[in-house]
Subunit: 298 residues, 2 copies
Amino acid sequence: MNDHTVPNDLCPVGFIGLGIMGAPMVRNLLHAGVPVRVWARRLEQAEKLVADGATLAASFAELVGTVKVLFLNVSDTPDVESLMLDDGGILSHARAGLIVVDHSTIDPLRTRVIAERAREAGVAFVDAPVSGGERGAIDATLTLMLGGDEADIERVRPLLALIGSTLTRVGDSGAGQIAKACNQLIIGETLVAIGEAYGLAQAAGVDPARVREALLGGFAGSKVLEMHGKRLLEDNFVPGFMAHLHAKDMGIVADTAAHLGINLTGVDRVRAALSRALEHGHAYDDSTILARYCVPDR
Amino acid sequence: MNDHTVPNDLCPVGFIGLGIMGAPMVRNLLHAGVPVRVWARRLEQAEKLVADGATLAASFAELVGTVKVLFLNVSDTPDVESLMLDDGGILSHARAGLIVVDHSTIDPLRTRVIAERAREAGVAFVDAPVSGGERGAIDATLTLMLGGDEADIERVRPLLALIGSTLTRVGDSGAGQIAKACNQLIIGETLVAIGEAYGLAQAAGVDPARVREALLGGFAGSKVLEMHGKRLLEDNFVPGFMAHLHAKDMGIVADTAAHLGINLTGVDRVRAALSRALEHGHAYDDSTILARYCVPDR
């Protein structure tokens, strides 16, 4: 059953959080021959994956107690905190030596607390937020930003390599989440910049598509100008990555900056643009839409 | 003397503005066999190029009156306005059919006025601001953003191809300058974003170099993160493109937005960061330095 590249002492693995990102990650593990045990509050989410070869655990406790590596891919910080730290949570049921790999995008500083609590319980915790969207999850081309002990990350690397194509250990616990926060901030600010540039061009009667073309190969060129800049021109806001999730992530960036006592004015501008986009009904559109709302309403 | 690819009816050409960017552009024209006539208030600037094969004009009037295409590469809007429109300026001395190609970065809306006045005098005016810096000028790999009549641009294209490697007609007069304004705005805002991201990482005790590495291949990746992001980590502010020139360009962006009645808050943030950098003595450092000043002094 198991592929040569994944050591047997990492198997079976468990996976909690079987949504748009989690489900294709599970399938990529299964395709490589890794035995995956799943469990979900909404049983139908888990049953789809059973049809693909996953094993349904009898309960949450049984899942946690029988796996060597446990992947999480849930929505927000409180979800991970609850799963890990609650009475009856992961740390209550885990075997010593369990490695938890958290693909959720959550608060970096609270990640450090979770990792410390896990360590005290004999469980390793690796923060492993991803970028690359649903397409990257399906194609196993995700970028993984990793935080945690180097030895733990090296142990799970054969599994992570089945999920993503760029794996970078950024530093100790929380460092992966810091990198993800930087990622969301830079993408947001670049979108605002492109929104402003397109707005300037349009106000001057110049075609933004021609401006984009002139700029793409030069110093102003970026993945955002290439991909999102094209979406903007085509009014294509099919997600991709939804605006309400980007708003959630920018909240994490803002909280982190506040806790660290630094003032990042760009964060406020991206959040303001996302708020306006959400107020105008674009929560489930691609977050590229924020570029349309970067100029304050007048 | 003349290369096959440059039609004889474009020769000789003239060049005014023989500085860091202009001089290597002239050399690239000369190397291709194009006869170039030069003139400069500071005679020694012109004489260097005579040693490379340029012809020194007897006077400004003689230069303007004897060339088919006249390149300008000067500092700011008033310089181009004065050269073109003053009594005794280019329009006073030009032969009908002259094409002026302006590589300066100047105000897009005032460019339209200059081009209109030129047209009335039987002179074509093409705005052709560049990006790519001194290195691009030497290697003839500049990006040229072109505004003006399509026929005029097509006529001079064989000459422009000797100076740059990416030539894009963005639209009518001023459209090249609008693209350049967008270029400087996007680069400035991306630098601010990277400055903030690095600041967030450092405040959290995470190495910005590792964050950059994790982000480079993903959606947050850009030429600015690749090139300027590396400069920041290495404290390398050898220009490149000087901060005071970026400040001048951002003034153009701000004036243009104000004249068009649009409110671009990103412009203010980039200008504020550049102002702080200039106040701290960095006028002649590379404009990457602005990323160090994007967080307000407290």
